[in-house]
């Protein structure tokens, strides 16, 4: 029965008041309301309270486009025509349809906090009908923009809100059905807007850079005979893929080795990166890189640097107002290489390496100053030939280094250092045999120029 009344009620609204809301003035000057009296009690006031309870329990404020419905319903002033008005006076006040074919129950204006004026016909409505009427009129004031004056929209949303066993989803669907992609921003969109934090790396994740590393090799074990003095590296890491706040990058690093008397191509690194998280001022990036040796067996016959390395890891970074912190976790898979000394062939087995790196520092305007500390744990290092076998067991290499970087716009110039702080007895970077990752000898100084975009 209630449903039938509601349907009937909605049909009435779909035809008539739809004429309203009629701009009969905002009543500020009092003239338009002279024939009305403020309602403070009675069935209409009580129905408004119940309408409020209904929309609050439903949680309509969570629906985009209905955020103002509850306050419009709660704070609108309710007026009723005074008793004793003539039919002509009622007609002038808008109590009848324009073509006089029906009665008007209430009117309001499509403006926030406009009053609601009830007419004598509303006194014949029951509580359920009054609740729907209050919601309908409030929608005329609460809906965004051009939807306010559309009776069909107000009626359909009212019907969705007041339907038995309705739900928030149902009401949301009805509201969204009137959303148009090019229309009011208050209407529902297909996906929420993506907000990328200001300091996020997503803004300029790609990098093109050149670097020169000078190694400290004077007092080393001379594990390799190449007498490597330095390394030039050209890096290109681009992030062309990804959606919203996710970015996927692919890159490579080309290197050239500088020895005392010669230069030749060094390791080639191929890498993939996935910027997977950028919220709460934190960036989380996963990476994988494959460093390939580019020298032939003959070119490497006096070196143990001929191994390929595969490395995975994640970087967690945050940049605050005046400082930054970055944590790196990495895993390098074990691999092998061989070397020919004299007439004897030696096989080198390099164990897995776990690495943790803490990088932190301060930044002021265009300058960043900081340092890093790193712990590398290598599973085992083994060398063997037909008659010789030696294993080191677990090795540790602890490093540190300062850096200073000047960044202006999308360019930067950096000076960095990497030095051995502690290691298993006599061990240096040669034992890691990862020229691209850690270099050789006991450390290095690096100069780097970058462009970010």
């Amino acid at each position: 029965m209630k449903l039938m009344l509601l349907i009937l009620f909605s049909l009435c609204f779909s035809q008539s008041v739809i004429a309203g809301p009629v701009r009969i003035g905002n009543g500020d000057d009092g003239e338009d309301l002279q024939s009305f009296e403020l309602l403070s009690e009675g069935p209409i006031v009580e129905a408004r309270a119940k309408a409020l309870t209904l929309v609050r329990e439903l949680g309509v404020n969570r629906i985009e486009g209905l955020g103002n419905l509850i306050p419009e319903l709660e704070y609108t002033k309710l007026y009723m025509t005074k008793k004793g008005l003539t039919t002509r006076e009622l007609l002038e006040l808008g109590a009848f349809k324009d073509d006089a074919s029906g009665l008007i129950y209430a009117r309001t204006m499509p403006e926030p906090y406009a009053p609601t004026r009830f007419f004598p016909a509303s006194q014949n409505l029951n509580e359920t009908q009054l609740i729907a009427l209050h919601i309908h009129e409030a929608l005329h004031r609460a809906l965004p923009g051009q939807l306010r004056e559309r009776e069909d929209v107000a009626s359909e949303i009212t019907q969705a809100i007041t339907a038995p066993e309705t739900s928030l989803d149902r009401v949301s669907r009805v509201v969204r059905s009137y959303a148009a992609p090019t229309q009011s921003p208050l209407l529902m969109s297909q996906a929420p807007a993506v907000v990328v934090p200001k300091k996020s790396r997503l803004h300029n994740p790609s990098r093109l850079g050149m670097e020169y590393r000078r190694f400290s090799v004077e007092e080393t074990n001379k594990l390799n005979s190449l007498d490597i003095q330095g390394l030039y590296v050209l890096s290109s890491h681009l992030y062309p893929f990804g959606v919203n706040d996710k970015a996927i990058g692919v890159g490579f690093d080309l290197s050239m080795v500088e020895t005392k008397n010669d230069r030749f191509m060094g390791p080639l690194s191929l890498s993939g990166r996935y910027q997977v998280w950028t919220q709460r001022d934190f960036d989380l990036e996963l990476f994988g890189e494959f460093n390939m040796n580019t020298l032939s067996r003959d070119e490497l016959k006096n070196s143990n640097l001929g191994r390929d390395t595969t490395r995975f890891g994640l970087t967690l970074a945050t940049r605050r107002d005046w400082f930054f912190v970055e944590n790196d976790f990495s895993y390098t898979a074990g691999s092998e290489s061989e070397e020919e000394l004299g007439n004897i062939k030696y096989d080198y087995e390099f164990g897995e390496i776990l690495g943790i790196n803490l990088r932190t520092g301060f930044h002021y305007k265009s300058v960043m100053i900081g340092g890093f500390g790193e712990v590398l744990l290598s599973d085992n290092f083994k060398i063997k030939s037909s008659d010789f076998v030696e294993e080191t067991g677990r090795n540790r290499v602890i490093s540190w280094g300062p850096f200073i970087e000047y960044r202006r716009s999308n360019f930067s110039l950096a000076l960095k250092g990497r030095f051995l702080l502690d290691s298993s007895i006599g061990e240096d970077y040669d034992f890691l045999a990862n020229l691209m990752g850690y270099g050789v000898g006991r450390g290095s100084i690096q100069t780097q120029i970058n462009a970010f975009f």
Partner: protein, 207 residues
């Protein structure tokens, strides 16, 4: 009488090979040689391996090994008359034979080593065995071998060292091949592994 002579001939031949001897003499040049010197700290110094000559003295010694010797000597015969020898050749022996015969010795190594060995270290890796017990290599003086002058048909520029005991006690019994070290109290230049006819070599008999 003829029968007696025939019987004596048979009896005298029991401890010696008959004509058509199944034993064969094997010779292998040592292929792992490393010069260690108190003057050379670089383990990769090119003058310390793959050379045609090495100069020895009180602070310069030569580590010698035949790679995979155990697998090569499976049929080796060691007896009172069949021995294993290591040779060292030098042109200086033609004129200083007596002096060098007294000064050059060969000693079994007690610590394993590789071709990155130096005067202070058998190898450059950070392990417990990364340093010699004493500089110049780990060996015992009383276990060193002097040249054997009884080697038949010896060449004038070569010294022959009977290393049979080392072979039996180390390689055959314990499967340990730490090689040997050539020492000399006098300065002498000996032929190295790049000399295809005069480098140090091992000689033994197989059946």
């Amino acid at each position: 009488m003829n029968r007696l002579i025939f019987l004596l001939l048979i009896l005298s031949s029991c401890g010696e090979p008959l004509p058509g001897d199944p034993f064969v003499e094997k010779q292998f040049f040592a292929n792992e040689l490393k010069l260690i010197s108190s003057d050379i700290n670089d383990p990769r110094d090119s003058s310390t391996f793959k050379q045609s000559e090495y100069t020895l003295s009180a602070n310069r010694r030569l580590l010698v090994r035949l790679e995979s010797m155990q697998s090569r000597t499976g049929n080796t015969v060691i007896s009172r008359t069949k021995r294993m020898y290591m040779t060292v050749s030098s042109a200086a022996l033609l004129s200083r034979s007596a002096e060098l015969s007294a000064s050059i010795k060969i000693c079994p190594m007690k610590t394993n080593w590789m071709l990155l060995a130096t005067w202070s270290r058998p190898h450059p890796f950070p392990t417990n065995s990364s340093r010699w017990s004493r500089s110049g290599g780990d060996f015992e003086e009383q276990e060193c071998f002097s040249p054997d002058p009884s080697y038949p048909n010896a060449q004038a520029d070569t010294l022959y060292f009977d290393i049979s005991d080392w072979f039996v006690y180390q390689l055959q019994s314990r499967s340990i091949n730490y090689g040997l070290i050539v020492t000399s109290t006098s300065e002498v230049t000996i032929y190295g592994d790049e000399n295809l006819s005069k480098g140090p070599k091992f000689i033994w008999t197989e059946f």
